[in-house]
């Protein structure tokens, strides 16, 4: 009997959880629940323990006596006695609903996202740059180090030679390989399509962008990253914030910074261009800038400057430029109108407005729905 049975049971449990996750994905798409839960390859998702319904006491059941795990509910209390390392800790974890954390591969989460929002897979643009990915041990050579000797091939050659030479004796089936029988494994280079992408999250942090607006940006950035990560083997993320001036920041600052003051969007676009020119050649990179703002700009002149930058410099270099306008109490929302008017026909530009969290899925679909 194998202990791996428990792994089958866990796999089944995880299937059930995935089913629920899929059903509830909309909720996750509009909440901050998953943020900060992403590791290198997986997201750890808290799910309430799936409980079988039972006739059991409800909320007023405690009555305030020395309640504790002595009067546990529902499930069998373990056939056996178990003890937590820290009695207090276990007791604290006992009542009500247990939360189980289930690791879901990023790949899988992205697949659910793709299905939920009906996102097309991204076709990498332009010529596929080729790269050598180390190669595979798929070749055979007559020369090589002993450590790479291909035993099966070597033996087969020796056997063939022995039989051909008439020295084979079925009653004494000895096969002695000679140096000329030996074969060695050989590495064959394999060419794989280049698949690198860079995402720029550019956020307006001027005084009018409040906490809720930033949360919305945060949720969107999380899901955009999750999706793009599933589409590219290598994804880099650059965070840029701006008010009247722009700078590159780390992830933490991006989500926590609160600047105040005016807004000069062109400063961000200039910095963006500078970054692309210095580090991300469009021949080598799939480039995805996303800009989030409440749509208030310094002046109409600066907006013209932005449009010129987009048209002449940025759009030709990127796969797609996403502009997400988050509704705020102070923003005029003019910037999106201006962009749509000037560049609305350019399908490298996507604009979307988000009124509140509920609008995140639609904005996501707008941003990622073109498969670029």
């Amino acid at each position: 009997m194998g202990m791996h049975r428990i792994e089958q049971d866990r796999a089944r449990f995880r299937d059930i959880v995935r089913g629920r996750l899929r059903k509830d994905l909309r909720r996750y798409l509009t909440s901050t629940e998953l943020l900060g839960r992403r590791g290198e390859h997986a997201v750890s998702i808290p799910v309430p323990q799936i409980e079988l319904p039972r006739l059991r006491f409800g909320d007023n059941g405690g009555g305030g006596g020395g309640e504790g795990d002595g009067s546990g509910e529902g499930d069998e209390q373990g056939s056996a006695s178990e003890r937590s390392q820290d009695a207090a800790g276990e007791a604290g974890a006992e009542p009500g609903t247990h939360i189980v954390e289930v690791d879901v591969e990023l790949e899988e989460l992205a697949e659910m996202l793709g299905r939920e929002l009906q996102l097309p897979r991204i076709e990498p643009r332009g010529d596929r740059a080729l790269k050598v990915a180390g190669g595979r041990w798929s070749g055979v050579s007559e020369h090589g180090p002993r450590s790479l000797r291909h035993f099966k091939r070597t033996y087969r050659n020796a056997l063939q030679r022995t039989i051909a030479s008439g020295a084979w004796d079925p009653l004494d089936p000895r096969v002695v390989p000679l140096p000329r029988d030996e074969r060695f494994r050989l590495k064959r280079p394999v060419e794989e399509p280049e698949a690198s992408a860079v995402v720029f999250h550019v956020m307006d942090v001027s005084g009018s962008m409040g906490r809720e607006q930033k949360e919305i940006v945060r949720i969107k950035a999380f899901w955009i990253d999750t999706w793009l990560r599933s589409q590219y083997a290598n994804l880099e993320v650059v965070y840029i914030v701006h008010d009247a001036v722009a700078k590159v920041v780390d992830q933490h600052s991006f989500f926590h910074l609160r600047e105040s003051g005016g807004t000069k969007i062109s400063s961000a676009y200039e910095l963006l261009l500078e970054q692309i020119q210095a580090r991300y050649r469009p021949e080598d990179w799939n480039i995805y800038p996303f800009h989030y703002s409440d749509g208030d700009n310094w002046s109409a002149r600066d907006t013209d400057r932005c449009i010129a930058l987009l048209q002449d410099e940025l759009l030709p270099r990127v796969n797609q430029f996403g502009y997400g306008q988050v509704k705020s109490a102070y923003g005029s929302g003019q910037f999106k109108k201006d962009l749509d008017l000037a560049l609305g026909s350019d399908d490298r530009l996507v604009t979307a407005s988000v009124d509140d969290r509920e609008g995140v899925p639609d904005a996501m679909r707008a941003f990622l729905g073109r498969g670029r």
Binding site: I6, G72, A80
Partner: protein
Amino acid sequence: MSHWQEPEALPQRLEGQRKRIEQLARARGLDFFETRFVMLDATDVNAVAAYGGFPVRHPSWRFGMEWERLEKGREWGLSKIYELVVNNDPAWAYLVRGNSEMEQKLVMAHVYGHVDFFKHNIWFQPTDRSMVDTMASHGALVRALVDEHGHDAIENFMDVALSLDNLVDPWLPMRERLRTPQHSAVRAGAPALDLETVRRRSMVVEEHLPTFDVLGYLVDRAPLLAWQRELLRMVRAEAHYFMPQRLTKIMNEGWASYWHSKLLTGGILNASEIIDFADCHSGATAAPAGRLNPYKLGIELYRHAERRGLDIFRLRRAHHDVTLLDELVDEEFAHSVELFAPRKGPDGKLISWRETKELLLRELSNGGLPRIELVEDNHLQRGELLLRHHHDGRDLDSAAAQRTLAGLASVWGRGVHLDTELKGTPLRHSAAPEALRAAS
């Protein structure tokens, strides 16, 4: 992940300690089944624990979920299973590889306490002592049914069956045992019943209404397919097996803790281990204010009984948690145990130890489960079931009750009703049968 094999012998050094502990335990009056210790990695111990102690148990996602929870608890350092012991003859116990020698000694002594308790406590007498084999055959049954009817059908039915598994009469196996003439023969010194007979006896179903043995009634009367009936019978047998552990959690843990403490400080520990032992022991018996730790409450009860000059061996034989607490918790005890310290209730009035005791007894009664009685099987002349919740001040979780009834109705094939109270007013839950998805 390692594979389950015939248990290896314990490392020689530990085996030596085990013998010393066994000898001392027997010398001090404990009497237990042969106990087989198996040493496993922590993750495998968690797996066994997830299966309720039976690595051979039937497959279910619930065990996978429990493993996930235990493993996360271990990885995050929140909780850790020290020991696991299975009521069976021979008993099986699991040691976690990597624990210190002191911890292993503590666990072994603790385990012998449990096995003595399993063997002698009266409520354990009707339990299946070859449960390891029974569970294995249950597992084989479920696997065969999965092959025959498909995974989904079996899983769906099992989920419904398991949601009814607390609708058993905890006292039924004992009543049946007392009713049979063989029992008096045992007392007169005749050879003990063979385990098969005991097991079959515990499966006797009560014929007459009203009954608390709802599950038994369904096994007997519900219009089920043969395999569904078989699974329901299996669920009921497992529920009866686990029930005495529910009824005696405090006594059982108290007894085991009392003895690990007694044995270890009675010659098993080296001087160098005393501090670590004290640390480990006090960790296990720590009770945060207002919370019940069965280890702590149990050990205090036996020590109190000892001070009062009572025979603790007799107590561990004759009682379950409710009767033991009722017998032993007096003013002196209440003053020495924090759980019973006077405290303010929600209305600002002081709650005395007597009231705390009352509350505790009520909470522990019926194994901490609501008392649900099946009173009619032809309600309204329509062949519908009527159940009654014996309300004792604690309301049911309404949403869960409604879902449970829906499952019950699908098993019964006709409507079912449950009379209870909610916030002081009578309430009836009703559910109509939905075709069992499994019935195809």
